[in-house]
Symmetry: C2
Subunit: 432 residues, 2 copies
């Protein structure tokens, strides 16, 4: 089936576009004529379909009332609270609206009221995030960073038995484009102190994939099995877990990173659903000889990783002023993780911890085997010892004020269209 | 001034009561005739004053409309979002209603509709908690636990320079009386593994004090100074941070406790305000000779700790069935912390992390210098090597199924009435 000819929306069939009819990610935005009134949209080509407006014109008729009600909410939490069959039904309905056929809205009198220019939208964080949890799922990242912080023991003995994770800060999760103020913090030149307090000198990005919990939450005390967990994966976003490395190094023992991470995390605005990602899923993850067997509660024969190519771009203020294209800092894939999304979620609930629709989990920094696959400056410049040269000739060990860091992500596979995540950007502002 | 004679509510002047007119803590509850409709109440003696019902009968007239509106909400977040002057105004209004004088409702026709039996209420978690952060503020606790987990270095070099903390799980915070299901988890007999998965064998409580952030939240990127921080302390609750020690030991390196803590935290239902606690505040915390100077952003000449006596009681299922009084496991005071609430909050925002009204912060386990002051079983039984004997003759190293753990807290001072926090209870249910 060649779907390229079926969708009539402008820009939806561009070979390098993120949002063909096969994608249809969900997002929340204010449209220019409805300031202060966030609504759910679906991205398609250069446009986005307004769900609230569509519902008002009867364009969602035929969907179950619970689905239509969820699509009229100001966040995705209502939709996330439904189940996978409802998500698929909503997707099928939108597909029919945007392709030629009996349900197409191509000739609908209100077409221009419901389908508006994507560039005109003010995107929001797509869900009210009750809790945010960050994992540490990349063996390459954990080994690289571990070898710097703990040369004698890069990977802890627990690392290959459980997806190591920690609770993060939900209040400071922001959407693509939000400026990032350089944080203050305590840092120490030696491991023993004494510390000083001031702006972080080692500000870093972390290339991650985030995923939203969906479906009915588990009651406290009940676990979600690894096989059931897959049904609770609503969709994915790119996540940049900005990190102050000098603050982290001094504070993180023994209870883990705290202020080094709590000042900002940026997500891409469009949530790409598991329905859209399924063609790019690969059985896995792969295990090396010598890796221990997984415990039963983490083992599922149908488990999978997703091959999302992830690219990190960096542009100095001077480069942006001169219109110079950003320099690629790294490129990797979400498939290169040791722990899957299903395993992270199953482990999270293994104690009976209750999940709520809209909870955000993230992979931790995604690195790969090659130097160019390293997903943060700490690794990419090997703690600053191997600086990167930008297109303007300046060197970077860590991020400087005025730098714009952009992460892009997309899926490609022979015979299938490319689908993408849009961008996850932030400009570093001077410390206040 | 002897206030004992002024309040006319039954039980409000009992010498051993928690809720005299000087306390007036805020809580959220369902009353028996309004199931599924949580409302704000103030505890007084054996009763509680229904704010929504009071507003409906004009009893809150005279309060600023923003305050009255906040008091009609189903959580305390609206009240918490106002400022300290408004909290004081609301308190003064309620004081006038419940004491003899021009504004008293003693003879009000609707008195019995607004003032109902406290025992009839179904208490709720008092706020929608956006983020929960747990600290590690007791030097006695950190030293005791550190000496077990890291005998060579009980206190990390950073410990006396910054209030060590970590982000916790908000979804699993429950109110007094909620059963606690024994969690599963990975545990390992050795530090090197391999682990097994099953019910935790070393379930523990942690005696803590929690405090709610109030007032206007800081914009992301802006810090709250330690002096300003005190104005954002809405009030305190008892908190029990249930912990699976065997899970914690295996999982906590390098990113801190995660599933060992995420299954449940219990809070007492009544939020005792800083206005009520002020007479029990003490300048401090005290520092020993040799303790390093505090960095400027954590130093405030008027800083204070609160002398809240905290008591842990334990009753087996057999003891409860026989009507035997619970055994006291430990007793300590919130004054015995190294880091103050203001310091914890200032440090939390030192990176520009944005706080929101209703955010909950907690002290970490509060221990004191003596063995009986140790605030968790891990310390109290010294990792199980010094078991406690309960009143029924059985021994406890850690918590057993059927055990009921209760924490009580109160303030006393010569010439002042006792004010209390009520109870923070949980019964251990078998693993599922």
């Amino acid at each position: 089936m060649t779907t390229e000819t079926r969708c009539w929306v402008h820009g939806a069939t561009r070979a390098d576009g993120d949002f063909p009819i096969e994608n249809l990610p969900w997002g929340v935005a204010e449209r220019p004529d409805r300031q202060g009134e966030p609504r759910i949209f679906v991205a398609i080509g250069d446009s986005a379909l307004d769900m609230t407006e569509s519902a008002g014109f009867g364009i969602l008729a035929g969907l179950a009332p619970r689905i239509e009600a969820a699509l009229r909410m100001p966040t995705l939490n209502g939709l996330m609270a439904l189940d996978a069959a409802d998500w698929t039904a909503a997707r099928a309905h939108v597909t029919a609206l945007l392709t030629s056929g009996a349900h197409s809205i191509e000739k609908h009198a209100r077409r221009d009221a419901v389908l508006i220019a994507r560039a005109s939208l003010k995107m929001q964080v797509p869900a009210a995030i009750g809790d945010y949890t960050d994992f540490y799922a990349s063996e390459f990242h954990a080994t690289n960073v571990g070898s710097m912080f703990r040369p004698n023991q890069p990977l802890m003995p627990n690392w290959k038995y459980l997806p190591v994770g920690y609770h993060g800060r939900a209040s400071s999760i922001v959407v693509d484009g939000t400026p990032v103020v350089r944080p203050h913090g305590q840092t120490s030149a030696t491991d023993e102190g004494p510390p000083t307090f001031g702006p972080s000198k080692l500000l870093d990005h972390e290339l991650e994939m985030g995923f939203f919990f969906g479906g009915a939450g588990n009651a406290m005390g009940n676990r979600i099995s690894v096989a059931e967990a897959a049904k609770h994966l609503f969709g994915c976003v790119i996540l940049n877990d900005w990190s102050a490395r000098d603050v982290q190094k001094w504070e993180y023992q023994p209870l883990g990173p705290f202020t080094a991470k709590n000042f900002c995390s940026t997500v891409s605005p469009w949530v790409v659903t598991l329905d859209a990602l399924r063609p790019y899923c690969i059985p896995g993850p792969s295990r090396k000889e010598g890796d221990p067997a997984m415990l039963d509660y983490l083992r599922w024969d149908n488990d999978f990783v997703v091959d999302v190519t992830l690219e990190v771009l960096l542009a100095s203020a001077a480069m942006r002023a001169a219109g110079t294209a950003p320099t690629r800092v790294s490129i990797g894939s979400f498939k290169d993780v040791y722990w899957t999304m299903s395993q992270m979620l199953a482990h999270h609930t293994s104690t009976g911890c209750n999940m709520r629709p809209g909870d955000l989990l993230a992979s931790g920094t995604i690195s790969g085997p090659a130097k160019e696959n390293r997903g943060c400056m700490l690794e990419r410049t090997w703690r600053g010892t191997e600086p990167i040269t930008l297109a303007d000739g300046t060197e970077r060990r860590f991020l400087q004020d005025g730098d714009e860091l952009t992460i892009r992500g997309w899926c490609e596979r022979p015979g299938l269209p490319r689908i993408g995540f849009g961008e996850c950007r932030g400009v570093i502002m001077p410390a206040r």
